[in-house]
């Protein structure tokens, strides 16, 4: 991973020259990869289901019916929000071939400190939430900053440093929670930070749903944090497609030497990219802190950082693609949760997620190669034709 000459992972299709490639074939190629991947993933999960003596079709149809009920849809959207943020955080790094595997540690520390600060101060609503967001972003960015500094000053690969920093962050978070930040509740074993006051709780969007003529079922709601995710998505789109910095990121990712030669500060770009990635990572845990649990405790959701890598890969680093990927992952998890009633282990969704990611990356790489060979052939054909 030293001097990465290859395209950013998750790949830049831009690289495959679009010369003289008929539109029809291009569309076919673009559709081929996700289609092949979906078929393969279904195949793997079907084998897993058959091996455990369950009829795959019945399972899939149950997942489809249960997963599309309004209640499930709302829960899916809510669960997709942190996955989306984690996916974007990872994708920002991927844009310049940086692997931020440390999202896990970044969001744990950020959620803990943001929840503590939020519980300690008292401010009017918007300001209060703003402060919590700010703390989370700052903490996430600084933790990623450690990896960034180690990379540009000492040449330590971010892959390994962020893995190590994950463990260190988990240790620090556990220590801070147990020794300094937890609120002891009589008769309860669960150690957690003090609950956030009303002013710091993110409003839900049930009112909006009512306006649309949809009534959220009893006990469910559409979390307001989805707005933050959308805002982050829009900003990410602007960054990638409409900003000079986004262009520089991509340039460094594809060819750091060429980028440096054309005047891009590669080190500065690296640091800023990792800070941005960590900043977004800091927001991952806040959907839960501000929307449902109102505190950070031992039972706080872990593992989103690693799932986020899968989401980013599946979404091909595109703001919209990651949204679909996050929704798909959340849908699989939600819709499999009722499978236990027909005696199918709910864990089938983890296998589905894993096989989807693996087959998607393989399929895209295969298609990229086919497209590249075709483009090459087309160029050769065209140049030979003009020479003759």
């Amino acid at each position: 991973m030293t001097t990465t000459l290859e395209a950013p992972p998750g790949g830049a299709p831009e690289r495959t020259a679009r010369v003289a490639n008929p539109l029809g074939r291009r569309v076919l190629l673009a559709v081929a990869a996700p289609l092949a991947a979906a078929v393969f993933a279904l195949l793997v999960s079907s084998i897993a289901l058959l091996a455990s003596g369950n009829p795959p079709l019945e399972v899939y149809s149950k997942m489809l019916t249960d997963g599309t009920q309004l209640r499930s849809v709302l829960i899916t959207i809510n669960n997709a929000v942190p996955l989306y943020l984690a996916g974007v955080a990872v994708a920002i790094g991927f844009r310049m071939a940086l692997f931020n595997i440390g999202v896990e540690g970044q969001y744990a520390l950020a959620a803990l400190l943001a929840a503590s600060v939020g519980a300690a101060v008292n401010l009017p609503g918007a300001l209060h939430i703003g402060l919590i967001l700010l703390v989370a972003v700052a903490v996430g960015a600084s933790w990623a900053g450690v990896a960034a500094v180690l990379k540009v000053t000492r040449g330590v690969s971010e892959v390994i440093s962020t893995i190590l920093l994950n463990v260190i962050a988990a240790g620090i978070a556990a220590y801070l929670l147990a020794e300094h930040l937890q609120e002891r509740v009589e008769g309860s074993n669960n150690s957690a930070t003090p609950p956030l006051p009303e002013s710091a709780r993110f409003p839900n969007l049930n009112g909006l749903l009512d306006g649309l003529g949809i009534t959220a079922p009893q006990g469910t709601n559409l979390g307001g944090f989805v707005l933050v995710a959308i805002a982050v998505g829009v900003l990410y789109w602007v960054l990638v497609n409409r900003s000079l910095f986004g262009f520089e990121m991509k340039a460094v990712g594809i060819n750091p030497f060429a980028a440096r030669a054309s005047g891009v500060h590669t080190k500065r770009t690296t640091v800023i990219t990792l800070l941005l990635s960590g900043g977004v990572a800091g927001l991952v845990g806040l959907a839960q802190v501000l929307g449902t649990s109102y505190s950070y405790g031992l039972s706080f959701t872990a593992g989103l950082g690693f799932t986020g890598i899968g989401v980013a890969l599946l979404g091909r680093n595109s703001p919209v693609g990651i949204a679909f990927a996050a929704l798909l992952f959340a849908f699989l998890e939600r819709s499999s949760s009722t499978l236990q009633f027909i005696d199918v282990p709910t864990e089938i969704y983890v296998i589905m997620q894993g096989s989807i990611v693996l087959s998607v990356v393989v399929a895209y790489e295969a298609v990229r190669r086919i497209a590249a060979t075709q483009a090459e052939r087309a160029v050769r054909h065209a140049t030979e034709g003009s020479a003759a």
């Binding site: 001097t3 330590v156 690969s157 463990v167 240790g171 020794e179 690693f306 089938i348 693996l358 990356v361």
Partner: protein, 426 residues
């Protein structure tokens, strides 16, 4: 995998400058460092009075805890020497634990070891198909395999153990696998157990050495022995056979290797499958005499990868790295308060560093080492114990510091992590 901004030129110089010296005194140097470390440990034990620092119990536990990490690290070494980064070690480790525990309980512990090894190898094969045949980015494929490995283990646990038909097993854990036989050194650590007698005398240095040696040789599981032997075995195969030379040439310069007739793809496949098998064996080592539990690997695959880098992509180095992780773990598990002794050990180590730097006349380094050393000593003298949560990541922090300090001098295989396609010079 790690590394330097500018590749070969800057790295070539120190390497070639050091080479003759290393050849001249390699073994003496290792021996000297081992003796020095032992002396420092004894000194730490004597000053702090924390006997656990060099007790045979700690040493034995350290060895046991180092085994899965060391095997994962060997897996990383095999793959990376052939140019394939294997982040999927964690997933292969998990596969090893699950299948090892299932077969180990149903058939017998040795079959469990074999099953773990085979399951890991299948994970490796999957990684090889994705990275070698399809050219998928190595880290990407590894991440996917980690997701998949964890998913398969969770799912299978539900299927096979979820109904509670096997006593002791449940949706997230297996039944107990019987242990493998233990061995000890005759006379020295069994029977008359001379090392134990020496350890009990409490003599400075001698009893410490006896404690550590006794711990490392008393009641050692055959699987542990096998794991330890795999380190020199890997060295021998990779550095002393033509197969190893070919395998490493693929990791250094696949294009050149190909032009000399080395079957690059086949070599990479072999390396990654062996890598997975090692990781699977590491998984099996966790469950033999114990059970499979969800999440029990706890990132050991990643730590193994860190140990590879810590050890500069060499078997001896990664064994030392795994030993360090195992020791810190053991100390924390056996006697939380003894961890305070580590602070003193670090202070003493830094004093040694300061002396070395003084000889080399690098004054800023002397001041820095002494300053940090004194800080550690003060920390040691004011606290009664170090919070366990912080101790848990000591080895990770040490690895990070070592990487930061030495990453310029580390030398990964030149083509590590790069995709290779026959006929394309990328």
């Amino acid at each position: 995998m790690t590394v330097a901004g500018s590749p070969s030129p800057s790295l070539a110089t120190p390497e070639s400058a050091h080479a003759p010296k290393r050849r001249f005194g390699g073994w003496q140097k290792v021996g000297l460092i081992t003796l020095g470390l032992l002396a420092l440990l004894s000194l730490t034990r004597a000053i702090s009075g924390l006997d656990e620092i060099t007790s045979s119990g700690t040493a034995g536990a350290a060895l046991r805890l180092a085994v899965p990490i060391g095997l994962a690290a060997l897996g990383g070494l095999w793959a990376e020497r052939a140019g394939i980064v294997n982040i999927g070690l964690e997933g292969m480790l998990i596969l090893g634990t699950w299948f090892g525990a299932y077969v180990g309980f149903e058939v017998g512990p040795w079959w469990g070891v074999l099953a773990g090894l085979a399951a890991g190898a299948v994970g490796g094969l999957l990684h090889a198909i994705a990275t070698v045949t399809f050219g998928v980015d190595h880290v990407v494929s590894g991440v996917a395999i980690n997701l998949l490995g964890a998913g398969v283990a969770q799912y299978l646990s539900q299927v096979f153990y979820g109904d509670g038909q096997i006593p002791g097993a449940g949706p997230t854990q297996s039944a107990v696998v019987s242990p493998l036989p233990d061995v000890s050194l005759p006379l020295l650590s069994s029977g008359p157990d001379l090392l134990r007698d020496l350890e009990d005398t409490g003599l400075f240095f001698l009893s410490d050495a006896a404690g550590i040696l006794g711990g490392l040789t008393r009641d050692v599981s055959l699987l542990t022995l096998l794991a330890v032997l795999l380190v020199p075995f890997s060295f021998f195969v990779l550095w002393r056979t033509s197969f190893g030379l070919r395998l490493r040439s693929v990791g250094e310069n696949p294009v050149a290797a190909d032009s000399l007739g080395v079957a690059v793809y086949r070599m990479k496949y072999a390396a990654v499958v062996i890598s997975g098998a090692m990781a699977g064996l590491g998984g099996a080592s966790l469950i033999i005499g114990s059970i499979y539990r969800e999440g029990q690997t706890a990132g050991r695959g990643f730590i193994g990868l860190a140990a590879v880098i810590f050890g500069n992509w060499r078997p001896g180095g990664l064994a030392a790295g795994a030993g360090l992780f195992g020791y810190a773990d053991a100390l924390q598990l056996r006697a939380g308060n003894a961890v305070r002794g580590l602070l003193l050990l670090v202070a003493l180590l830094l004093v040694v560093v300061a002396i070395v730097q003084l000889v080399r006349r690098r004054l800023p380094m002397v001041v820095a080492a002494l300053g940090i050393g004194i800080a550690f000593f003060l920390w040691y003298s004011v606290v009664d114990s170090v919070p366990t949560q912080l101790v848990g990541f000591t080895p990770h922090l040490v690895t990070l510091v070592v990487l930061a300090a030495a990453s310029q001098r580390l030398r990964p295989p030149a083509a590590d992590g790069q995709p290779y396609r026959r006929g394309q010079q990328s």
